[in-house]
């Protein structure tokens, strides 16, 4: 694999909360255009890795985006390069904003394209268009998740980090959101996915790595991992 095919390169990443190291010397690459999944149980350190990539947590090691080191950059500078994160918690919406305002603030650094991006988001999630003038805190859990993904898309990212897309959602809504994520990926946006729903994640991803207690224990093609006996037993209960 050529280095220039990688959109994101993580080398010896250790993430800290306070004085505590929660991720230990993790290394992996995400290739342009693919869906890469970080899989593991709750507390394994998956979300901490996303937080470090966005510059929201302190870490050691190096992170390269589009071949350039971004360790010295602040969060807003990383967003300007084309990175973005749809956070896990539905509390991450701006509850005092309307749905439309939430989307518009997502285009803070991409104001010139905001109409085009709004159209794209409304096409993916028509319910957001119906609810655009409602206060965001009146949305259901699934709609909030859609809003988080839509808002992240408003910056027209090259790499979209998705944190726990299916957490707390019904299977029907989860399917709808994964359909939208496939559409987003087909439009050329690379996706780095963090997910506890291993089945869904491996079905969706091209490649994945398994994280246990802050360390990577396995990296490979998603379909190969899905066929592995030990993974099926540990994560899928099969």
């Amino acid at each position: 694999m050529m280095e220039e095919d990688n959109i994101l390169e993580i080398n010896n990443l250790s993430v800290y909360y306070g004085g505590l190291r929660v991720v230990h010397n993790v290394s992996f690459n995400v290739r342009k255009g693919e869906v890469f999944a970080l899989i593991g149980s709750n507390g394994a350190g998956k979300s901490s890795i996303l937080s470090a990539i966005m510059g929201l947590s302190s870490y050691t090691g190096t992170i390269k985006f589009l071949g350039k080191k971004i360790d010295h950059l602040k969060t807003y500078q990383r967003i300007a390069l084309g990175l973005t994160l749809a956070p896990e918690s539905s509390a991450a919406i701006f509850s005092r904003f309307t749905v439309l305002e939430n989307l518009l603030i997502g285009s803070y650094l991409n104001r010139a394209e905001r109409e085009k991006m709004l159209e794209r988001v409304f096409k993916l999630f028509p319910i957001l268009k119906e609810r655009m003038n409602q206060p965001a805190d009146k949305l259901s859990g699934g709609e909030r998740k859609m809003l988080l993904i839509g808002r992240a898309l408003m910056s027209n990212p090259k790499l979209l980090l998705l944190d726990e897309v299916s957490l707390g959602l019904s299977p029907l809504i989860t399917d709808k959101i994964y359909e939208a994520c496939k559409e987003i990926n087909s439009q050329g946006v690379t996706i780095l996915l963090v997910e506890q729903n291993v089945w869904k994640a491996l079905e969706f991803a091209n490649r994945a790595c398994i994280i246990e207690a802050g360390k990577i224990t396995r990296v490979g093609k998603a379909d190969e991992l899905l066929d592995e006996e030990s993974i099926r037993r540990a994560y899928l209960g099969l």
């Binding site: 966005m54 973005t84 991450a92 904003f97 603030i105 803070y108 104001r111 808002r151």
Partner: protein
């Protein structure tokens, strides 16, 4: 006898109406004092102890411009507000941000230091004597239904409404305003929108200083001022903001009206010395019944 009773009741009623009108108009001026505090408390979640001294800085500079250049205070409000906007921005960006990164307490202590320094500078330059912004229109008044309303009270009220409406529209309709509101909800998530939250904090303090600049000119036109009065402004501003509800511009205006009314009614029917006591008694009662303030979230 009956005529005398009717006359007394009418006089009492007129006094009440007059007090309500004066109180409401004064409340407008108080609201301007409170807006800056509302921004720092509501958006930055910190208290700027020097808020009163910044208001006073504007009063003194307007006084100096009037004295040296003969510049009308209403005209000098424009360059003074812009100067204070710049001062607030750079003070936060290069000085207070360091204190705030360390802790909220350190920010408060630093602003306390600024407040003390400014008070002493005012004493050195302008002496402890009272000063006032004296202009021709101080004597203007208009009569509505038998009540004589001084022009400056009307000015306080309507400028206050104009400032509040402009600020509200700015916060609601512009990207910068939305960034301030987003940051007031969650700094971390605001960063994920691509917002440089350090600059937004600096802009917020700048806007707080800008409104303090306008308040300084209005209050300077309404009342005489001296170096030690800044603390009273701060106490009033704090009361108004907490009473109205943190983060609400309309709440700040209502808080200003309540405090203005309470103060004038107390002065009219009891004793002017009890004004601050009565204001804080009302604040205490309202917050005991509704801890988030009148319009707080």
């Amino acid at each position: 006898m009956a005529y005398r009773r009717v006359y007394c009741e009418l006089s009492w009623f007129m006094k009440l109406i007059e007090a309500v009108v004066y109180g409401s108009l004064l409340g407008g001026a108080y609201a301007v004092i409170g807006i800056g505090m509302s921004l720092t408390l509501g958006v930055m979640e910190v208290m700027n102890i020097a808020h009163g001294e910044i208001i006073l800085l504007s009063s003194y500079l307007a006084y100096q411009l009037l004295l040296l250049l003969g510049m009308d205070p209403l005209l000098s409000a424009i360059p003074l507000s812009l100067f204070l906007l710049t001062l607030g921005f750079f003070l936060q960006k290069y000085c207070l941000s360091r204190a705030l990164k360390y802790s909220v307490e350190m920010f408060v202590i630093t602003t306390l230091a600024i407040s003390t320094i400014l008070e002493n500078v005012y004493l050195l330059i302008w002496s402890p004597m009272q000063k006032a912004l004296i202009t021709g229109y101080l004597l203007w008044s208009c009569e509505v239904g038998g009540i004589k309303v001084p022009f400056v009270f009307l000015l306080d009220f309507f400028v206050s409404i104009a400032v509040l409406v402009t600020l509200r529209e700015f916060l609601k309709k512009t990207y910068l305003g939305m960034a301030i509101r987003a940051s007031s909800e969650d700094w971390k998530i605001a960063q994920l929108m691509g917002i440089n939250t350090d600059n937004i904090r600096a802009l917020t303090l700048g806007l707080a200083f800008l409104t303090a600049g306008i308040a300084g000119v209005l209050i300077g036109l309404t009342y005489p001022f001296s170096p030690s009065i800044g603390k009273s402004y701060m106490v009033i501003a704090f009361g108004i903001v907490v009473l109205g509800g943190l983060g609400s511009m309309i709440g700040t205006f209502i808080g200003g009206l309540i405090i203005g009314l309470v103060q004038v009614l107390t002065a009219t029917f009891f004793d002017p010395a009890w004004q601050l006591f009565a204001s804080y008694l009302v604040i205490f009662i309202i917050l005991a019944l509704r801890p988030k303030g009148v319009l707080g979230r």
